[in-house]
Subunit: 256 residues, 2 copies
């Protein structure tokens, strides 16, 4: 009789289980198929491993695309019209946040008019913060997708990423600051650049880990909007800390 060979301890999923979770179960227990049951444990169907493979590929593509502001239905062979329609809104939002960040620079225009060399380092400070934050963001978003990152270990992750950010900031802030000092023989410029990079890369570590967790908490896919919120933060913080420090310190120094 089947009783002798059947397993009674069955791993099954419900009809409303997220397909990502189904894929996780199948992958974790190395199953070839997983039964789907209703609330009364009545068997309604099965999901087979070949469909799970498609789900895993889809979900990975989704994560990659969302992080770059690309729609999942946008592919190499999508017509120009279709791709423009899907990408333009995202770039439009990017433009708005870029102009918001630019308004911080506009606020410091008198300082730049006096010390035009400051303009040279604006993209450096903002860009390094953005890169540093994107690294954190990627580890967090993928950690959430793979189930490695949970609400329980999120505090440890936040503490770790903040430390990584400030460490990388210290290392590269002083390298960049020294380069700036050599270029203009201006020690204050070097210190301002180093300070701004340390501040911005620390902020990048904090925001890069907090943003995906908060989005997950309010049930928004953390891959979708994390990048744009992060770079808005790192742009604003970068411009504000660099030009703010410069305004405070350079005005007491004669123009070289």
């Amino acid at each position: 009789p089947l009783k002798k060979i059947m397993t009674t301890n069955v791993i099954s999923v419900k009809t409303d289980t997220d397909q990502e979770e189904v894929a996780r179960q199948v992958a974790h227990y190395d199953l070839l198929a997983i039964p789907v049951t209703d609330a009364e444990n009545k068997l309604l169907g099965v999901v087979t491993v070949d469909d799970v493979i498609d789900v895993i590929k889809e979900e990975a593509t989704e994560d990659i695309f969302y992080m770059a502001g690309v729609d999942v239905h946008d592919h190499v062979y999508t017509p120009v019209r279709g791709s423009v329609r899907r990408r333009l809104p995202w770039l439009g939002i990017n433009l708005v946040t870029a102009l918001i960040a630019a308004s911080v620079v506009a606020f410091f225009e008198p300082t730049i008019a006096r010390f035009s060399f400051l303009a040279v380092f604006l993209p450096v400070v903002a860009g390094m913060g953005g890169n540093c934050g994107t690294q954190t963001l990627t580890v967090m978003v993928r950690g959430l997708a793979l189930g490695e990152l949970t609400w329980a270990n999120s505090r440890a992750a936040l503490a770790k990423e903040s430390l990584v950010g400030i460490t990388n900031g210290l290392a590269l802030g002083f390298v960049a600051g020294f380069a700036a000092y050599l270029w203009k023989s201006n020690a204050v410029l070097g210190l301002v650049l180093a300070g701004a990079m340390i501040i911005n890369m620390f902020v990048a570590g904090v925001t890069g880990s907090v943003i995906p967790l908060l989005l997950k908490k309010i049930n928004v896919d953390p891959a979708i909007a994390s990048g744009i919120i992060l770079t808005t933060f790192t742009d604003v913080t970068g411009f504000l800390s660099f030009l703010g420090l410069a305004s405070l310190l350079l005005h007491y120094i004669p123009v070289s």
Copy 2:
């Protein structure tokens, strides 16, 4: 006899087949296992679907991580030391390319000293080019990974992405240019910003599609270095086109 039930048209792979290709075969034919044979078709083993799932997840994680400059062995629970050691070199390369791009701005310092409002738009032009190019890059890199993009259809993809880039550039270039015109009541500034954004987003579409194809051609994983080469290009082109156009056109206009 088995002859009656066996399939003789067997899909198999060789011992030196890339694991990504094995995963593609299993996924494509919905197999539960695929035989591995040597050059004389002697059976050496099988790869089962549960291992293929792990490969697919790994490869996707690799693509996502490489694109953000993160090592595959860098996870949420990696100690601070380990993460810093893995991320710092990548950020260091980023800093060098950022300083190279910054030297373009330095070249135009006299122009910025005269027209300080130009500094406000530097990160906007460079950033929009970077975002636009990253969208193209992501579609191309994922297209290569999923086998959608081949050398045969690469010319069509390049033509398409260039068109998408210039279309998005036209749309957002004029929006940003109009915003700049309203802000400073300076039509030339508006035209300079629009022109620079159109040029840069076109260049972003071209380089975003060419770079991963070239890297693939020389057997470098296109996910690894594409991003940094792209942003170096879009930064340099952005600064050069914006400040170059400004130098040509603004010097004939009285300071407002």
